[in-house]
Amino acid sequence: MPTLSADPRWPDATVAVTGLGAVTAWGWGVNAFLRGLDTGRTTIGPPRTFDVTGHRTGVASEVGEPPPDGPWRDLAGWGEGSRCDRFALAAAVEAWSGAGLRPGDAARAGLYFGGSTAAMAEGEAFFQDLGAGGHPRVAPLASHPLDGPANAVARALRLGGPVVALSSACASGGLAVAEAVDALRAGDVEVALAGGADALCQLTYAGFNALRAVDEKPCRPFRADRGGMSLGEGAGMLVLETVAHARARGARIRAVVLGRGASCDAHHMTAPHPEGEGAARAVSAALGDAGLDPGRGGFVNAHGTGTPHNDRAEARALASVFGDGRGSLPVTSTKGVVGHLLGGSGAIEAVATALCLERGRVHGVPGDPADGADPEAPVDLVLGGSRVVERTVAVSTSLAFGGSNVALVLAGPEPRAEGGSGS
């Protein structure tokens, strides 16, 4: 089997990434996200969406208002959509149009979408109004169920194939990408839109605080002084299709998804397996699915929440899979920059991973490079600025509440001169 350096001439059946979309606290769009990743700074700070004075902690990564001239303004569903719907719609439209597709294109297009809050914030407003004796309108709850944002995207882009909403907590977005890969391989769809979104709400904010899982300061994944996660919000979306399909329509291949693996800890409802046993099985399964042996090279975009337990277990999982090679395996965590998007985290991290592969540079975790990683969670942490890597292979992990784990193996785009896939 090859090592973590893959042949860049991808076979026709390989799943290609041809469109990317992002909404994060850095702004509405992939370019804003990428510029933010390059700053080496975090977006985590006091939120304005709701009053946090009654909560135990007071930071989050919050998305600002959309620019008034965004291309999504005229979309069906934008006006009445929830905050989460809008994140999903904006990221989906960016990915879809970036892939050279228009609404209604592709007869067998499917949507695979992860999320965990949907319109909970709007539901909270309804609940408060009702409890205060008011007569709140029920219409804003139309998109409250967990398939609400997925359906909004499918309606707006006139997708007629399968639409599958998944909600496996923090693994949702990664699982959605994995589902899309399966659907493409099986021939269920010709093009898949995959990703996820979540919006800040008081229920998750209070809930994670109740679990003492939230840091009072911006999260510091894999650092010795880490004290927990920081909640975030936004969306990440990817357009996936086979390399053959992308080439046939002249689409630009930005990355490929080589493998996917999933597992469950079956250990504890909230705590990860202390040795990262389930996470390691997911990573191994993804590498096996990709036909790769763990070797030197590449990088890992880790789940890396910043909680003491997660990062320690994840470091052990990576050690068990990559062995001695992990010393030269750069590890980053997008959550250090834009917080934890919960159901959308695996999706935005897949977008970040694809962007890093595309330009051969891994973004860093905010912090002083001199500090290094926690000796108890020993990884080669990309700290501070970004780091150049060869256009090679990366693993993105998502490890959820309830023990659900998923790993994706992505690789960079084929060289245009060799692949002939130029846009």
């Binding site: 009654g54 009702l130 139309a142 169920p145 967990l146 399968p162 599958v164 496996s168 109740a210 509440f401």
Partner: protein
Amino acid sequence: MTEAVAITGWGPVGPEGCGKGALAKHWAEGGPRPVEVDRGGGYHRRRGARLAARVDPTSLGEWLSSREGRRMSPPSRFAVAAARLALDDAGLGDDPGPDTAVITATSYGPSTFTESLLRQIFHEAPTAASPALFTESVANASAAQVALRLGARGPNVTITQRQAGPLLALAKGAREVASGRASRALVVAVDEAEPLLHAILDRFGALAGSRGGEEVARPFDLRRRGFLVSEGATACVLEPASAALERGGRVVGTIRAGLSAFDPSSPPAGWGLDPEHLAAGLAAGLARHGLGPADLSGWVSGACGSVAGDRLEAACGRLLWGADGVPSPVVPKAYGGEHGGALLSGALLALEGWDLAPTPGFAEADPELGPVPFAGGAVPTAGRWLVSSMAVGGAAAWAVLDRRDPGAGA
């Protein structure tokens, strides 16, 4: 699918009690027995729906002790009990095997615990939020509990595509098994019907009693006005047919295909208006599996008594089979109310050929629709069933299930 995937056991938890014996007896005797929903929370309109079919929490009995379930949300309790019933029915005891996948489907997740958490946060203080309630308020809590209690360490996925979810989960479970990523899969459809959710559905006008008058779901009937919300879970065990037979297992049926499509004309809180698109997607999907309408001799329909939803179901049936060729549908939600487990239970009862009462609530055919639901007695011994479910919001899913080969298995 490369390997025939068999359903080798199943178990329901519902208002009728635990186990398929209780369910079949109840469904053979007639319709659901709804109860008054607790209106003490102040969420309900003065005039509106009052009834739902609810699970008696004491009925879980030997399948989940009160001690084991005391910190679980209702969906987790239903799901764990149903999973154990399914394993027992499959002859696997309490051990599905370590690489078993758990695939659940739920429309709204754990509503009771979410409502309790909202009350703590907004009626007391954010710091009053209970970590135990939060842990069990997430949509995948029941999938996690099933995995934790049964040691299932394969892929663990929760699908939340409302009424399409159970059939999407069935297809997902079959794919995990067929691909070899899991040696078995436990597929669980689980929903709960707690008062806040009931009140919201009523405010949307979705329930049979939302406009006053009788609260009877009447699928495909001229006088249908909405559905009767219900709760429970149905679990089934999937494994390669060859492996099941090798271990002496019983094959209830095999999953021939799982299909889905989306109707972009659908509003966020209703059913769509484009059956032609859905029927075309279904026909194309069947063709990819080497099937045509003539291969489908039985129909288990997800119709629930909704005016628009049943219209869409019926139109898809007519477009698929032709107006004169539509099989008389078995309509599980007429017997078990609107919850995902009822659909799966109905499909599995049909596969096993149990007796059913005449479709509850159905009295007068709607000439606009066409299908006249099952008239009662032994379910026809169709060889190949189409199971359909149209979801609020636009998604649709179908499963093609082959009845057990009489010569196969124990």
